[in-house]
């Protein structure tokens, strides 16, 4: 191969290379032009205006509305729990008043047992009967007042509370009956028709036993009520 031929080949190759470079440049320019055309509209003032309108007219109000809605739900739940807490505290107060009446009945029974003089016992007989009748009426009313407040407790706890409450009514009724019997016997004096009269010790122990049973049943209900109060208090703190 002579020199002339080599030069020709080299120039042919250089020519091919130049053409390839030109084509490549054309392709890059074309693709750049295409890309620019997709987003070019964003540069326009109209587009900016529309985007601004969408953000300030739709997105911001939607966000604010959602935020308000969440706050409103939160406030509603908090207010409702606040009202429930108030009602539960009131229920607790009514329940303690029930026990106050049992304590008064017990004290009335103790007074009869502790009065050793028959003359003294007779002298205050009418007052005691009056007090007993008043306590009995109050007890029925107070029981009803408390029973009505059980609705304020969370649904799942109502049935166990009612059950424990019914278990308290039984010894409380027993206490009332014992005090009633004590009053009647102290008014009638000794009755020989009764085959075996309970001794003074047996009567006093019966009274104490009924108080102990009232105390234990009361403790069970009180524990449940307190537990529910704490749970609702705990829940309400989540919404503060």
């Amino acid at each position: 191969m002579d020199n002339e031929q080599i030069r020709k080949e080299i120039s042919a190759r250089l020519e091919i290379e130049r053409q390839v470079r030109e084509q490549l440049c054309n392709i890059e320019d074309q693709s750049a032009a295409t890309k620019k055309s997709h987003w070019a509209w964003l540069d326009s003032k109209m587009a900016l205006l529309v985007i601004g309108a969408v953000i300030s007219g739709v997105l911001v109000p939607t966000f604010q509305f959602t935020q308000e809605k969440i706050n409103w739900h939160r406030q509603n739940r908090y207010d409702s729990l606040g009202r429930q807490l108030g009602s539960i505290r009131e229920s607790l107060k009514q329940f303690i008043a029930v026990q106050g009446l049992s304590a008064e009945l017990y004290n009335l029974g103790l007074e009869i047992i502790d009065t050793s003089s028959a003359a003294l016992l007779q002298a205050r007989q009418e007052d005691r009967h009056e007090a007993f009748r008043a306590l009995r009426t109050q007890r029925v009313q107070q029981n009803a007042t408390f029973a009505a407040t059980v609705f304020f407790f969370p649904t799942r706890s109502r049935e166990p509370i009612r059950e424990a409450w019914n278990n308290l009514l039984l010894p409380a009724q027993k206490l009332e009956t014992i005090v009633g019997n004590l009053l009647r016997e102290s008014a009638q004096g000794s009755d020989d028709k009764v085959p075996r009269k309970p001794t003074a010790n047996e009567i006093a122990v019966q009274l104490d036993v009924s108080l102990a049973e009232v105390n234990q049943a009361y403790e069970r209900v009180l524990t449940m009520l307190r537990q529910q109060l704490q749970e609702v208090e705990h829940e309400s703190t989540k919404f503060q």
């Binding site: 049992s102 017990y106 001794t199 010790n201 104490d208 102990a212 105390n215």
Partner: protein
């Protein structure tokens, strides 16, 4: 207010002490009542040993067992669960099953031991295996009705002197294979013996002394209850 002389200072101290005493009395009596001793012998003591025997048998059915509440509910860490009128029953409970009010087992020498709930202060689990549980039982008051009637101890003497420890092996199951469980008056909670972990202490006198049942204290004869140290008193519960 400034004290001008020594007698004024004395007066102020005396008034303060009186006020404190009045407040203490008011707090103690907040539930009403006078705090009579909780006892089956409220007006008069037992006339015979037989009276005491009867009261002791009845007392066994009125005891309250306090156990750590976490044994039945893991969330109640630190609380005590009180099983009132506690008894041992097989589970599942069937018609005709009768609650037992004593711990029946074998002593280390192999003798059969029956410890009535009316004479147990507490017990601690020492060890257990698949079949048995070993307990160290504190027996109190370790006194017979005859001795009680004869010696007429005060509460302080009874508390200090009449106590002993017995190690007893109890079977975890009844003869028919049903597990033994502790259960209370209301039956809503049961505590199987095999759930008692080693080291746990359960007591019969952990209840508040004003929340007790008077029929529990068969031994609280007048010589015991007349002692001002006697803690078990009946006051209407308020708080």
């Amino acid at each position: 207010m400034r004290a001008r002389n020594f007698s004024d200072t004395l007066n102020i101290v005396a008034i303060s002490v009186m006020l404190c005493a009045v407040v203490r009395l008011a707090v103690a009596d907040v539930g009403g009542g006078m705090g009579y001793p909780a006892t089956p012998w409220r007006i008069e003591g037992p006339e015979s040993v037989l009276d005491l025997e009867k009261a002791k048998a009845l007392a066994a059915t009125y005891q309250t067992l306090s156990v750590p509440a976490k044994l039945v509910d893991e969330e109640r860490e630190g609380d005590l669960l009180e099983l009132q009128r506690v008894g041992l029953v097989p589970t599942p409970f069937r018609e005709g099953d009768i609650p037992i009010h004593e711990l029946v087992g074998k002593s280390s020498s192999g003798e059969t031991v029956a410890l009535s709930f009316s004479q147990i202060e507490s017990f601690t689990v020492i060890s257990k295996n698949e079949k048995t549980i070993t307990m160290s039982v504190t027996v109190w008051p370790e006194i017979s009705p005859e001795e009680l009637l004869q010696k007429q101890p005060t509460y302080k003497q009874l508390y200090a002197d009449y106590r002993r420890n017995v190690v007893v092996d109890l079977s975890l199951k009844y003869a028919d294979g049903r597990p033994q469980v502790f259960t209370g008056e209301w039956g809503e909670t049961i505590l199987p013996l095999d759930k008692l972990p080693v080291g746990v202490k359960c007591g019969f006198y952990e209840e508040h002394p004003h929340m007790v049942h008077p029929l529990r204290f068969w031994w609280a004869i007048p010589s015991v209850t007349n002692d001002e140290n006697y803690p078990f008193r009946l006051i209407p519960k308020m708080r």
